[in-house]
């Protein structure tokens, strides 16, 4: 069975991700312990909260180096969810300029409405439109709705790292990926059937 380390860095709703991973056939463990993270076949970095505070927590728990080792060197499949996706960026600006994990070249900035109807935070169901094929979205048609709740977004530098985009605030990157590193701005654990399909696809990597 796939052993999934859900990284606990002290600021989010981990229960629902744990339940969703179980539901999708994985064996989740919520942890910040090096030993458990090293044993995992898959790593999920969840996230709710502010970029600055999140990086601080990852640093203080000694998780930045450990995650880099497991993901970049050991090539363990990695999925960042919401803030967990944003933390992949080189730099974030929520709560002051902060260095991110830097695995995806880009910056995390606040969404800017382009129409009066666009309200921030972007909360609710919106379409994920693919720009390139990705194993995470196997058996899911492009343009389906997933659940978003966020005010910031990752602006990628490299086009080939943008997997999908969503039409809001002029269009933002909703999925990124490089090698076995993926980030989704939406919440698969709250996106019901299609969200679970994303998690199942991730576990199949």
């Amino acid at each position: 069975m796939k052993k999934v380390a859900i990284i606990d860095y002290g600021l989010c709703n981990l229960d629902s991700i744990e339940r969703a991973v179980e539901y999708c056939g994985g064996n989740p463990v919520i942890t910040d312990q090096a030993k458990e993270i090293r044993q995992a076949t898959h790593i999920i970095l969840p996230g709710v909260g502010a970029f600055h505070y999140a990086m601080e927590n990852l640093q203080s728990r000694g998780l930045v180096g450990l995650l880099s080792e497991q993901v970049l060197e050991e090539q363990i499949p990695f999925l960042g969810i919401c803030l967990g996706m944003q933390l992949l960026a080189s730099t974030g600006y929520e709560g002051g300029e902060t260095t991110g994990l830097g695995w995806i070249a880009g910056e995390v900035r606040k969404l800017t409405p382009t129409a009066a109807k666009e309200r921030i935070p972007h909360v609710g169901w919106n379409e994920v439109n693919y720009l390139q094929e990705c194993p995470l979205f196997k058996n899911i048609p492009s343009g389906k709705d997933f659940y978003f709740v966020h005010s910031y977004h990752l602006e990628c530098v490299k086009e080939n790292e943008v997997i999908a985009s969503t039409a809001y605030c002029g269009g933002f990157t909703s999925v990124v990926g490089v090698d076995l590193i993926f980030g989704v701005q939406f919440h698969p654990e709250k996106s019901q059937r299609l969200g679970f399909q994303v998690l199942k696809n991730f576990l199949a990597l």
Binding site: L11, C12, N13, L14, D15, S16, R19, A20, Y23, V48, G49, A50, Y53, L83, G95, P113, K117, E118, R119, I120, P121, H122, V123, G124, W125, N126, E127, K144, D145, Y147, V149, H150, S151, A167, Y168, H187, E189, K190, Q192, R193, L194, F196
Partner: protein
Amino acid sequence: MIKVRVIPTLLFKDFGLVKGVAFDSWRRVGSAMQAIKVYNLREVDELVFLDISATAAGRCPDFETVDDLADECFMPMTVGGGVRTLEDVRRLLQVGADKVAINTAAAEDPDLIRQIAEKFGSQCVVVSIDVKHHGNGAYEVYTHCGTRATGLDPVAFAKQMEEAGAGEILLTSIDRDGTMTGYDVQLTRQVSEAISITVIASGGAGNYDHMADVLRHGKASDVAAASIFHFTQQTPLEAKHYLAQCGFRMRFS
């Protein structure tokens, strides 16, 4: 394009779900767990779960109950009732709430909203504003489950909450609550036009047309409803089909 959410509201009191009229005359309407399981199957957009006796009883949220419910809830869930401190918020998020709704404490201590937004992000802060319409045409914000007047004007208060960092406003008309005579469109429009965060209209839905009305004329982003789903044959899915026919963008999985 973002979709309009149709959000069932579950009101929790003591051990089960209730629904009243104008925040009074509560009737039992079944178990919370049962409701969540049904809504899971029907792929409802989102749920609001409010423990309406917590503040009155002077107690904190019932974390154990929320934990049990959240474990079964595979849709986004906003949880409110008795939230007064950063620690309450942290624990609710920890046991599985996606967002936290704050009513009384937001009016009493607006700085709490700023602190929560700073620590956990605006996206998890829903300020729930309950409003009464006075005979002279004026609106007033009430707290403590609609029992205590605050002297606050809902538009000014909503603006203040937006500035403090609220992510969404759940705007409930106390007068319309449970009457199934339609949302307070005027109130909703006033608040919605004054702020740039999402306004969820609540209180008064009796049919799908009411929802279309408050979305179109009240400028609400989304609609919440309770009685219509508890006491009539109408369902969130039918509501979405109806609204889609009216030209609103809805989600169908």
